[in-house]
Symmetry: D2
Subunit: 90 residues, 4 copies
């Protein structure tokens, strides 16, 4: 099934790969007894990177739906779905 | 000009009115030397209330755009606008 | 009762006053049928301003507690209180 | 060097390990063409899990500092550090 993010799939996968590395790095920081505040700073960085993936998904999804690819007559449902997903991020 | 939130205008205004009261209440807490942590708790409440207004605007906007009210040929622009607005909230 | 934010009270009150004005401005934008995305942008601005007040309260509170003003033997309780307050903001 | 989170090190490592798995799962969802909104929901879950790690670090750090383990005379510096770290999370 085609999705809004199809074109950006490689880019999204690369980003997620990098975030996975960031989380692994956080584990290493904890294992190596790094300073709390430095770990918090890296958590913020990983969180921002995740937020960017979310925003790209929203962007691609919105483009996909707006260009008429969402099932006709389901516009309210699609809008609710998106708003609820964003609500869970805030 | 018609907007997505037209139908919910009264409800949005009521919510914003209540948030304005919450912020005024925060000022009163500071003026009355209330305990920091209690003020932080009320800040979280006001913040959540603002987030709910944002989510309702996103919902109404998405419904409006998806139901074909957005100018034809501007779908990418609309999607970018929305994604960028969400990005500023995260 | 003395609090961590005593010295910054005027500054905090000024900030909260300004945020109250921002929320009132949001109400006016809705009443005047302004464009959703522009309202969302202003919501982000009000939210950031609230976050800054929260951070200042955390800063003053931490300074106050760390400089020995928190009741002895209650350090764990104070730390939990702070962590829980931050948890509600995230 | 002793840190606030020493006692919770195993628990933190377990949590970070689980989050790493969540991020890997996100990559798999993208690779498998899962539905955007479902991916967004899983991003929210990973983000919340990261936030919980951050809150635990703040809690342990605050306990550590408040119980007198932070270098004397550096209380303002410690408080600023913490407030700035939280500011980057909001």
């Amino acid at each position: 099934m085609a999705h809004g993010y199809d074109e950006n799939k490689d880019r999204l996968l690369k980003r997620l790969n990098r975030i996975e590395g960031q989380i692994r790095g956080l584990g290493k920081m904890v294992a190596d007894d790094k300073y709390c505040i430095d770990i918090l700073t890296q958590i913020s960085a990983a969180r921002s990177a995740l937020d960017k993936v979310a925003v790209e998904l929203v962007r691609d999804h919105a483009k996909h739906c707006l260009s008429g690819h969402s099932a006709a007559g389901k516009t309210d449902e699609k809008a609710d779905e998106l708003a609820d997903a964003i609500s869970r991020m805030l």
